[in-house]
Symmetry: C2
Subunit: 121 residues, 2 copies
DNA sequence: AAAATAAATAGTAATAATTACTATTTATTT
DNA sequence: AAATAAATAGTAATTATTACTATTTATTTT
């Protein structure tokens, strides 16, 4: 993958925030560095960075958010501000542990387990 | 909430399938019963049915799917066909149990824990 | 260093999912 | 049967994302 200033700025933005930003957030921040950058360039590079395993896409409801923490981890999602907070599996024995460790009151745990179903054996 | 034939058809369709259908799937099936039904009506009723806790919305990547199984449960998502398969928490001790019980090979477990973060205490 | 090459970009158009709007219809109450 | 307000059909608007294309630019070759 050939170097481009645009991609470097995009990756840096994602790496320097903990907010798991959306494409639009990245686009508006990137414009302060490269005023002529286009939204298409942002999306194209997000795809490439994901293919290169430099970032991961998290679908948060109906919008994609991007994460540069490539260690396997899960998230706490606040119902009020929508923040996504990184957690590690070993930390999450139960809701009580989360309340203790993160001062976060759990109301729901959603889990999606991906893989290959029996139709493809 | 006042009765409407449209809403009854929509709810019945969701209750009579295990596929966790999308709005479009519901729309096309509903048209065979009520040819003049509009897509807006489908979405409006999906929202109302959710508010009334008759169905739940599952965000599967970037599209919403609808589920009439209102018992707390999680899903296995097949990477190949995209099927969502209901599971219960007690069943999911580990990947091995899932392989045994569902003949489903786990490649990834994603978990989102919702609640209220410390900023709102 | 200049020319050649192919990848990346800007800008715009297209698509898909969802929500909003409004005149008309319909379920329910009076 | 008339009145009322909720629900609908049909369409327009919005949002997120992808596609397209002429131009620019990073890298390689001479
Ligand atoms: Mn994260
Ligand atoms: Mn389900
Ligand atoms: Zn919060
Ligand atoms: Zn499958």
């Amino acid at each position: 993958m050939r170097y481009s200033q645009q991609r470097e700025v995009i990756l840096n933005l994602i790496q320097n925030t903990k907010i798991h930003p959306t494409a639009d957030w990245i686009y508006s921040k990137a414009k302060t560095h490269i005023p002529k950058i286009s939204l298409g360039t942002v999306y194209r590079n997000l795809k490439k960075l994901e293919q290169d395993k430099l970032i991961a896409t998290i679908y948060d409801g109906n919008v994609a958010r991007y994460d540069s923490n490539m260690e396997k981890h899960d998230h706490l999602k606040c119902n009020i501000c929508g923040d996504l907070i990184d957690i590690n599996k070993n930390n999450i024995d139960i809701s009580k542990t989360i309340l203790r460790n993160f001062n976060f009151k759990v109301s729901d745990i959603e889990m999606t387990i991906s893989g290959t179903c029996k139709k493809h054996t």
